[in-house]
């Protein structure tokens, strides 16, 4: 329990540092933020008044506190481009991103567990070697390149899958959505599954060479029995931490994938915001994503403590 409280305290500290980093990033942005509100016929006096109203003349520390207070109240500011609340825009796009990332993560875990267990059990066998090559390709292939090759192959050349977006115009069916989901999911999954497989493979190898397995063998327990009843559980357990740790990479991958496939998620929103220099939106998305990653990591740690009795008793 103390461990969890300690971890909670750490999380708050991390979020505090993240918020300072985000705020600094807005402040070092080139250009005077007041200029976005200025119209040609405004007087110098009026502009100065505007600057004061926007809180830009206050000391930087006060500005930060006001900004933080607003964020804690769920007010991420308004977009400079369309003046809509940033949070509304993020929440509107979030389900698409969650659909893509969720499907991909789920698929990656489902695929990685059996592959990792098998290759760990049959270390250096033919299958292991082939999978090893594929997983090296998976962690080394540029996401965007894999995406454009897929588009060329399946959309341009074979005409079997739609290349862009989440739905076809005017069609609102489940199968249409699934068709659009296939390629982005495959691209994102390939990288994830390669990473996860490597982790599960190596923890399977470690578990298989541990003392308790030797004891089980000595008692005459079958190899499959050992694998399913003991190794499986202990080899998958670290996956919780790996999942938490990989969130940052998955988010980066999702941003790239969404951009190439024009998937209408938060990643695409973010890149568009950067291209149009929409600072409140950029910072809102950065802060929001960091929040999700930190919470994801925290949940992973807590879950690990709850599931693994060894750590619980030590804490």
């Amino acid at each position: 329990m103390e461990k969890i409280l300690n971890r909670l305290f750490q999380t708050i500290l991390i979020l505090f540092i993240v918020s300072i980093l985000c705020f600094t990033l807005t402040k070092i942005a080139p250009g005077d933020p007041v200029l976005t509100y200025v119209e040609p016929n405004m007087s110098e006096e009026y502009i100065n008044q505007l600057r004061e109203d926007l809180g830009l003349t206050k000391p930087i520390a006060i500005q930060y506190i006001i900004w933080l207070k607003n964020i804690l109240h769920g007010n991420f500011g308004n977009s400079l481009i369309n003046n809509r609340p940033v949070l509304d825009q993020i929440l509107e796009r979030l389900p698409s991103t969650m659909l893509l990332m969720g499907t991909s993560l789920l698929l990656s875990v489902i695929l990685a567990i059996p592959i990792g267990l098998y290759t760990g059990k049959h270390k250096n066998g033919l299958v292991d070697k082939i999978i090893n090559i594929f997983s090296y390709i998976g962690i080394s292939i540029p996401t965007f390149w894999f995406a454009i090759i897929m588009i060329y192959l399946f959309s341009v050349y074979l005409h079997v899958l739609p290349s862009l977006g989440m739905r076809s115009d005017g069609i609102n069916t489940f199968s249409d959505l699934m068709k659009h989901l296939i390629m982005p999911t495959c691209v994102l999954t390939f990288t994830n599954v390669s990473q996860f497989t490597r982790y599960i493979r190596s923890s399977t190898i470690t578990e298989l060479s541990s003392d308790y397995v030797t004891v089980q063998r000595a008692y005459g327990m079958s190899e499959t029995g050992i694998l399913y009843r003991h190794v499986l559980k202990n080899a998958i357990l670290p996956m919780i931490t790996v999942l938490g740790m990989s969130l940052q990479g998955v988010v980066s991958g999702a941003i790239i994938t969404e951009q190439v496939f024009a998937w209408p998620g938060t990643g695409q929103l973010a890149v568009n915001a950067v291209m149009t220099f929409d600072y409140p939106l950029i910072m809102g998305i950065t802060m929001f994503t960091a929040l999700l990653i930190v919470i994801g990591n925290l949940l992973a740690d807590i879950l690990y403590v709850v599931i693994d009795p060894r750590i619980r008793s030590n804490g």
Partner: protein, 277 residues
């Protein structure tokens, strides 16, 4: 000890043929892009008559939409990508080693603060921050190196910190401390040489990820921009000619994949070799 490492390296590479191939690929790509000027074709020579020519004897990789020789473009592109990979690796390794060794050796409050800072940076959507910083700063190789270097040192710092913490309790380090050697001297003389293998492994893998990041940034029209060629920006351009000239997208992509996979594999091979000692 050094002789021992060399012997292990030789043995390890003898066993792992793929690692040797990786080293050869890296060497070939580095040498060809470093000496790209020896290739007798101008990478910037525009020719209206030979636009989008298919790969042939005269143009082994074909020509791009402006009739420029694609092999020459790829060689110069490799120069930019490898330069970014190496230099941002050096930057991130330096920051990571400094932060990690200070954090691990000093412990206590300094350690706690530095590590929370590392945690915070590791929670940020890195790619998004890169895109943002890229949009702020002037595009160009120098800024790409700085941005990637500044955002990828955290994993090295964590690893160096962990190893430093365990080394600092060793007898010879404790002895040097008692005999009054300065902290800096202890870190430089007794701790860093012993974690060199780990640093080398992480740095090798970092080159791979730096090259991936640069190519993604340049692909989005940020990072390295035309007329300077980089594999990523070439792919950005190639997107518009997927139907007419798919090879424009194949060559730079395969080159990135080959380079990154070689560094990743080499990193893992080195890890195995160092662990066996």
């Amino acid at each position: 000890m050094r002789d021992n490492i060399m012997k292990n390296l030789k043995l390890g590479f003898k066993e792992d043929k793929l690692a040797v191939i990786g080293v050869i690929i890296i060497l070939i790509l580095t040498v060809t892009s470093a000496f790209a000027f020896l290739y007798p074709v101008d990478a910037n020579a525009i020719s209206v008559t030979s636009r989008l020519a298919k790969p042939s004897l005269i143009h082994p990789f074909g020509t791009d939409d402006m009739g420029r020789d694609y092999l020459a473009r790829c060689l110069y592109g490799g120069r930019a990508s490898l330069l970014v990979g190496f230099l941002s690796m050096i930057l991130s390794t330096m920051i990571g080693v400094i932060v990690g060794s200070i954090s691990g050796y000093m412990g206590g409050k300094i350690d706690a603060i530095l590590m929370r800072f590392v945690d915070a940076l590791m929670s940020l959507p890195t790619f998004l921050i890169m895109v943002v910083m890229n949009a702020y700063l002037k595009p160009g190789i120098k800024n790409v190196i700085i941005i990637i270097g500044l955002l990828t040192w955290m994993s090295i710092a964590r690893i160096v910190r962990g190893e430093t913490m365990s080394l600092k309790e060793r007898e010879y380090v404790v002895y040097s401390r008692i005999s009054g050697q300065s902290r800096l001297k202890i870190i430089l003389q007794h701790i860093l040489p012993n974690i060199m293998p780990t640093i080398i492994v992480t740095a090798t893998i970092n080159i791979a990820s730096a090259i991936l990041m640069e190519s993604a940034l340049s692909f989005f029209g940020l990072g390295i921009r035309p007329p300077t060629a980089s594999w990523g920006s070439m792919l950005n351009n190639a997107q518009g000619y997927m139907i007419k000239a798919p090879y424009l997208a194949i060559f730079p992509g395969v080159l990135i994949l080959l380079t990154v996979i070689s560094f990743n594999y080499l990193g893992e091979a080195l890890r195995k070799i160092f662990e066996h000692k």
